[in-house]
């Protein structure tokens, strides 16, 4: 679609005040716990979805019923009772939230302080009702105008279903089909909301898009669905999450993110996630089970995943890239931190299908306390993938004597001319290094921060600038007390 054809409907859609289209579409309260076909129908009805989407959800639900939860992860967890979960709840009314910052948990405020969260954001993040004028309109309006000018669509998934159903119908499930895995199937049946981004041909999105700006992001709940489409020659950088700790009464987060990049297009997806880790034994912490996949469909297309994951009780995710277009390129840069009793089994899959495709993986795992951190990566070169090249760098940093780092690299090359390079290192923050730093006057926590920062430098460099500074602060906070 050419930019001019899209401008009018988009401008209209974007002009709508932010509360409309999500909060007010919800008519009544939560559904009781449990999941059956009626639950799926109820969700679809509440969201006033078109017929095709209801059929799609129901088909996914049928698939899900025949599947069993995977158990191959290097993870110890209680089995989840899926019938005990609530699959739809109205967004929490802000009227029930804290009346002011004085009512907010002081520990939470202390964390905001350490992470340098801007003052006006602290109220919003803590659930204090802020004046609509102060909050969204001033910030949201200017950027929406800029996007409208170039024809970029950035809205909630529900909004996109209502206003761009043809795009949803064409692309939904094209990268992560419902039958892909157990949690993707579940998500496909009951997903609540998420982000939708569409970049028209030849457009370089004028700013970084942040789920932060999509007001009410925190209310999308546990089954988030995101779809980003970049037409030929376009470019976008998307930021998910924020460094401020996110509390949620839902324990399971099973999101699905699909990216599609056409010829010469580029999508950069950065995640800085700091889920609430629960108590020091990990009880009550979030289970972060996400399926993220990018399809580098076009020639010379480019998809990059950058993530800083910390905080969840269990992290289980493999942002991946399918390199279908000739000369396409995929990148994965990750820092996964686990402390106390957290567990992480995370990594990536780079599937080389087209000709002369390249991929690059840089994974930094940091374990402290009694945590266990596993990197699991797959590099697969298909039979037609001539000239394929991959470089993988997988580094682990162990802090203290009780944690663990594990590596499970899988390499499947169907061709003689595939070039796959894998390097792995394991280091400790040794007593000697720590003594050296302290003898120069540097306190143990700051020394850890320095050393960890140095260890993660290659990944921090890939983050959009605003996130990089926050990320460093986040790393320091998540490793507090791990040393000394």
């Amino acid at each position: 679609m050419a930019p001019t054809e899209q401008a009018a409907p988009i401008a209209r859609a974007l002009e709508q005040p932010y509360r409309h289209g999500f909060v007010t579409d919800v008519e009544s309260d939560a559904l009781p716990p449990g999941l059956d076909e009626d639950t799926v129908r109820a969700i679809s009805r509440k969201k006033r979805e078109p017929e095709f989407l209801l059929r799609w959800r129901l088909a996914a639900f049928e698939r899900w019923l025949k599947m069993t939860p995977p158990a191959w992860g290097q993870l110890r967890m209680e089995p989840i009772d899926f019938q005990a979960l609530c699959y739809y709840s109205a967004p929490k009314s802000l009227k029930d939230g804290p009346k002011s910052l004085a009512d907010v948990d002081p520990k939470l405020l202390e964390t905001y302080e350490k992470l340098n969260v801007p003052l006006h954001e602290r109220a919003r993040l803590a659930g204090v009702a802020v004046d609509a004028v102060f909050d969204s309109v001033s910030v949201g309006t200017t950027f929406r105008e800029q996007l409208a000018k170039v024809g970029v669509i950035f809205c909630s998934f529900s909004h996109a279903v209502a206003n761009h159903p043809e795009l949803i119908e064409r692309y939904l499930g094209s990268v992560v089909p419902p039958g892909d895995n157990f949690y993707a199937a579940l998500n496909s049946a009951v997903f609540s909301d998420g982000s939708f981004v569409y970049i028209p041909q030849g457009v370089r999105c004028p700013m970084e898009l942040s789920s932060y700006f999509r007001i009410n992001a925190r209310n999308t709940g546990q089954f988030e669905r995101t779809l980003i489409i970049a037409e030929a020659g376009s470019q976008v950088s998307y930021l998910e999450g924020c460094t401020a700790p996110q509390r949620d009464e839902h324990q399971l987060h099973a999101a699905v993110v699909e990216l599609v990049a056409h010829d010469d297009a580029s999508i950069k997806y950065s995640t800085v996630q700091n889920w609430y880790p629960g108590d020091e034994h990990g009880r009550g912490g979030i289970y972060n089970f996400v399926t993220k996949r990018g399809l580098a469909a076009g020639k010379r297309s480019h998809i990059a995943w950058t993530q800083i994951e910390t905080g969840s009780a269990i992290t289980w995710k493999y942002p991946s890239v399918i390199l279908r277009g000739d000369e396409s390129n995929g990148e994965f840069h990750s820092i996964a931190v686990s402390n106390n009793f957290q567990q992480a089994d995370t990594g990536t899959k780079m599937i080389h299908l087209g000709r002369n495709t390249t991929s690059r993986i840089v994974s930094k795992g940091i374990s402290a306390g009694h945590a266990h951190n596993s990197y699991r990566g797959l590099v697969r070169m298909g039979p037609k993938a001539s000239g394929a090249r991959n470089h993988t760098q997988c580094d682990s940093l162990l802090i203290g004597p009780n944690c663990g780092a594990h590596t499970f690299p899988y390499i499947e090359a169907a061709r003689d001319d595939a070039v796959v390079e894998h390097e792995a290192t394991t280091t400790r923050i040794s007593e000697e290094r720590l003594f050296y730093c302290r003898q120069r006057g540097i306190a143990p926590d700051e020394a850890t921060s320095l050393i960890v920062g140095g260890f993660c430098q290659a990944v921090l460099e890939e983050l959009p600038m605003e996130f990089a500074l926050e990320a460093k602060a986040l790393l320091a906070v998540s490793l507090e007390g791990a040393v000394g």
Partner: protein, 256 residues
């Protein structure tokens, strides 16, 4: 504090490493701006003294008292002692991957400054000082941008210790065999730096076997460590005598 006032006072210091009592009852004093040389046979505990004063966790103080600039040193932790003005050069300085040398040193300098209520140096100001110091030491500027000691030879690591010494400007610098692995130019740099810092009031405790270096440093005191105690104390002539007669002869002389 005026010159010749006591900066460091060590009284009856006893130190155990593992279950071995390495230092039995060490006592000595170092005046402000003065330089003391510590000699002793291999295994006599010279390195133990420096590491115990710095607060290394494996070196357990079993008795005695240490006073630095009028403050009781032993209750302080490692970084507190450093900020109080104690510097120990490492025999085998470790590397710190990914952390640039100038960032590391700047962090250290600012930690000390902050503890003294001084404003921290920003990256720009610090870099200017660091470049000047590197140049005075005959060090390539590139060393500042490399990760700490990453890929540095033994001699280069020692020079990096000198760079940090010159930028931290401690009250007391303990140099443990700073000469090992150093070439002629390196040794000249040590002597120049020590002289310049000493003139500005830094005191030194230099552990060395190397007479030529000791002579160049013009020590105020020379001490010999033997069987966990300071067995002998004198001036440069003591060092020269030890160099002539060796440690075994020297201890026989004392006993006889």
């Amino acid at each position: 504090m005026t010159k010749n006032e006591t900066l460091l006072s060590v009284r009856d210091l006893a130190v155990e490493v593992g279950d071995r009592r390495v230092l039995d009852s060490v006592s000595f004093e170092i005046a402000r701006g003065s330089l003391a040389v510590l000699m002793g046979a291999n295994g006599s505990g010279k390195s133990t003294l420096g590491l115990a004063l710095a607060g290394h966790p494996r070196y357990h103080v079993q008795g005695g008292a240490v006073c630095l600039a009028g403050r009781d040193l032993l209750p302080m932790n490692v970084e507190e002692r450093a900020r109080a003005g104690l510097f120990l050069s490492f025999q085998a300085p470790p590397d710190i991957a990914g952390v640039k040398n100038n960032l590391f040193i700047r962090t250290a300098v600012n930690a000390v400054r902050e503890s003294r209520g001084e404003t921290p140096l920003d990256a720009f100001d610090f870099l200017g000082e660091a470049r000047a110091a590197a140049s005075r030491l005959g060090l390539p500027e590139a060393m500042l941008g490399r990760p700490v000691n990453d890929g540095f030879s033994g001699g280069e690591r020692k020079r990096n210790e000198l760079l940090q010494l010159s930028l931290l400007r401690p009250r007391l610098a303990i140099l443990d065999e700073i000469d090992s692995g150093m070439d002629v130019d390196g040794l000249r740099a040590v002597v120049e730096l020590v002289g310049s810092l000493r003139a500005q009031g830094t005191s030194f405790l230099v552990v060395s076997h190397y007479l030529q270096l000791i002579e160049s440093l013009e020590p105020d005191t020379v001490m010999r460590l033997d069987r966990g105690r300071i067995a002998e104390q004198g001036d440069l002539s003591l060092a020269q005598e030890i160099a002539r007669t060796g440690f075994v002869r020297a201890s026989e002389t004392v006993e006889g």
